[in-house]
Symmetry: C2
Subunit: 539 residues, 2 copies
């Protein structure tokens, strides 16, 4: 090491030391700029033990504390909806660890410190509800749904019995029945699950149980052959995960090729079924996707349903993403034509419909399967000698025991919008995506549309100045792919915009924009396209 290097290293060490000293010794270290949410003098030294439920006299302090929390949340909501505010304030994990005081102390902190904790947490959190956050299938912050979730927290109950969640259990009945009607079924059964992956798992389990009822007790070895499932090569990875979890092995989750629009090719599906049958395997389950994760493709349901009928296979439709479009008269067909022919459907209101995370549903055409498949008859919870009609207890239908209340936020949101309002909301998101496609086509020097979207997934490359006169060959595509992570990095550093990128099996990295937030307008789409150009033109 030469002298200059040595001095550099020493300076860094000194800086680090001073930084840490200041952080750990300054009496004001936690009283930084965030500290605008002060409790009154009377309450500022109180701790958790001074408020309800620990101190029965603590209501005034409890109220003041909670109202200050609400102030913090309202300010976050305001800034989430402020187009001049940043989407995020990015820091690398190691820096973030230094900026935050995440330590778990031996002795409890004051309520005042907890308010600072809340405020600091939100300062560094990504604003997923910001109109310039286009990064995920779940974007946006629906404030009615949020109000519902606040109430859910306060009601703090478990969804396994009518006994302790009477109103919420009945809400599940009403909302899930409505959803089944929208699928096109007059009967059936449904449940809310913690995310689309677990919903898909429920479908898999019910299908296996329906075909091999003795399997539940005796296991896969009783089936007498290798079970096989089929899905497109564009499906969500949770489908493959079912095969690993449930004992088939991922080799027995057959990936069916898709066309250049990302839709499963039905003839290939049938070929693969026959191929596996010829090997003596037992095909039992086909997953069709309504709205694939990356490009938003819709597998052709009628053709796939015909094949399932011919070969007596269970048809599951993973509409976790596309399901919301069932609410739209304009966009439902042809995308989901034939969905009523499915045996089961996954549909996540926390995606396109904007319900707060988590809110995922799984629906079955046949009633009674969910309980006969999953029932373990825990005597301590699901007794039949209860005061009320125990058919309302849901706990024995699920592979969870405790289950979070995911219904109230959706029910309240649906009351607010009405079924028509939800339909209009879906139409609006689709129209905004169509607007984005038009704008991209108007700027062929700056943007390259990868394919005409069927949904709100708009897939494209950004073209920096230096490639604008190049022919669109593999060489140019490589450059465009290479700049994706760099441009995404610049967005995050600038904090002005978030759009996702990824490779798929046909092409290297490309951007995928999602419009699933009610906050987005045409002007935000224009901003997005201008901002990417501002940040990326010199790449």
């Amino acid at each position: 090491m030469d002298n200059v290097q040595m001095i550099g290293t020493k300076i860094t060490a000194i800086k680090e030391y001073l930084y840490n000293f200041a952080r750990t010794h300054s009496p004001t270290r936690l009283m930084s700029s965030e500290n605008t949410y002060s409790l009154s003098k009377e309450h500022c030294n109180l701790k958790y033990s001074d408020i309800l439920p620990h101190n029965a006299e603590g209501y005034p302090a409890t109220r003041e504390f909670l109202m200050k929390v609400v102030d913090i949340l309202l300010d976050f909501i305001k800034s989430t909806n402020d187009r001049n505010a940043k989407v995020l304030d990015f820091h690398h994990p190691s820096d973030m660890m230094r900026l935050l005081d995440l330590e778990i102390p031996d002795s409890g902190l004051t309520l005042q410190q907890l308010l600072i904790d809340c405020s600091t947490t939100l300062k560094y959190q990504v604003k997923t509800g910001h109109p310039h956050f286009f990064n995920q299938l779940s974007c946006g912050l629906d404030l009615v749904s949020m109000a519902g979730e606040w109430l859910t927290a306060t009601a703090n109950t478990n969804m396994f019995t009518y006994e302790i969640a009477p109103v919420f259990i009945l809400m599940e009945h009403v909302v899930l029945q409505k959803m089944r009607e929208l699928i096109g079924w007059s009967g059936g059964d449904s449940i809310l699950a913690p995310g689309g992956s677990i919903s898909n798992l429920y479908a898999f389990l019910a299908a296996r149980h329906k075909m091999f009822p003795m399997y539940k007790e005796r296991g896969l070895s009783a089936v007498g052959g290798q079970l096989v499932m089929f899905t497109s090569d564009q499906c969500h990875y949770s489908v493959k995960s079912c095969a690993a979890v449930c004992g088939l092995g991922t080799d027995n989750c057959v990936m069916v090729p898709s066309d250049d629009r990302g839709r499963m090719i039905p003839s290939k599906l049938e070929d693969l079924i026959l191929e596996r049958k010829a090997k003596g395997h037992i095909p039992f389950f086909v997953n069709a996707t309504a709205g694939t994760t990356v490009i938003g493709a819709f597998d052709p349901i009628p053709e796939i349903a015909d094949i399932c009928q011919r070969h007596k296979l269970w048809l599951h439709i993973d509409a976790a993403w596309g399901g919301g479009l069932l609410l739209s008269r304009k966009y439902r067909h042809p995308r989901m034509t034939g969905i009523e022919r499915a045996d089961s459907v996954t549909w996540n209101p926390h995606k396109l419909m904007g319900a707060l995370l988590q809110c995922s549903t799984i629906h079955f055409k046949e009633d009674g399967l969910l309980i006969s498949c999953n029932q373990m008859s825990a005597e301590y919870l699901f007794m039949t000698d209860k005061l009320y009609d125990v058919k309302y207890d849901t706990g024995d239908k699920v592979i969870q025991c405790g289950r979070h209340n995911d219904i109230f936020k959706l029910w309240l949101q649906w009351r607010a919008k009405g079924t028509e309002g939800f339909g209009k909301h879906m139409d609006r998101l689709m129209e905004l995506s169509e607007y984005m496609v038009r704008r991209i086509k108007q700027m062929p020097d700056k943007y390259y549309l990868i394919l005409e979207p069927e949904m709100v997934n708009v897939c494209f490359w950004y073209l920096p100045t230096r490639v604008r006169n190049m022919p669109h060959t593999q060489e140019r595509i490589k450059i465009l792919a290479d700049i994706c992570p760099i441009l995404k990095g610049r967005m995050m550093q600038a904090g002005t915009l978030m759009v996702g990128y990824q490779p798929d099996d046909r092409r290297p990295n490309f951007f995928r924009n999602i419009i699933s937030s009610a906050a987005v307008t045409e002007a935000d789409v224009d901003f997005l396209l201008a901002e990417m150009d501002r940040l990326g033109h010199d790449l």
Copy 2:
């Protein structure tokens, strides 16, 4: 049908008609007594489309709406903590359906109506945080944790990547590491799961993967034998459910007998392992329970760990319920002595520790297993060319894709209490349970203690007047069991108290009281015992 019957039937029909007419035609039908949360004149006719994020100018109305929701929640909190208020206002499902307007309308309702909806929902919800709610393993409403959950809702993010949940991901690191330290491990890995059942499933999957890494791709048929798991006959039913879900079949989840205190008998475990080995089966997994659901028993870990070591079996400890006692110097030993010898541990902070539902954790002694077991390498989400160190992305470790943020409420609560405060809280719950046992023993004419509890589960029979002079024979036990549902029904009808009952494999129905709420005091225990007597003495 005679005339009197006919007239009766007609009167009922007329009443029903009038009731329904009034319900559907009265302009004030929804402006009932609950309507004390009125929006200002200016805002009372607004709808969801007039507030953020739909209307960018809507902040004042948004704020007023949310503040009214908070008023409703604060009133609920106040009444939850009011010992003179009822725990519940019970109605049978069919009556509840009539009392509530759960309908999903075609056109959206006003914000004012949504406030009425919120208030009505809470009016009929069971107050699980009420000091006289002793019904479930999760009782209580910790208001710091609740404030955390409000913030979680407002931040509305997904826990799969650091990219969109930077602060929360780091909080998971800090809190889960702390929990592993409390178990007694210096390294390892952990994840939060949607409930203890899914946590147990993770343990099962990791164990199978560790023993048979090729199984993930090739499936159970590649194992070349029947896998077998072992658990006590007192275990949580989710353990058995793993066997059904994952392809073993419940016949291959061997139930090991327990002693009269509900603890697994280690010698029986070893006998059963040998028996299955003799059949050519492959034992691989033993579940020991630390805190059984009904009687709160602790399986003897050191002896079970020795057996697992001898036979090279994975040792999982389901401490979903008992885990909280790891925080108590006084009660940790001997109950959980040896827990550090486990390969995996389930521990639900939403139970004894009072974090809001859902908050469940699963811990592994070996780092790296969770990812190699569950990884599906979804290219669109877990790219390695990101701006930041992607080791912080958790999504590829889990069988879910989207994952609710369950950490903030726990982190904030732990900051508030400190580790010492949490320990004291555990001690307090145990001391209150000991108090209850003492009181029961002081009233041998009214209460019969079934066994000395190891935890906060106090199991007993209530003795109505007519049996007080009977010898405690099977005949008397039958009477005591028969009155459990009736007395529970009276509690619910009166709305003053909730205590659970259930049968187990040794005895018919008995009461199981749980003290896991910070709201409970000695006076509440006295109330509970007096109230059961008031409601049940004549049975």
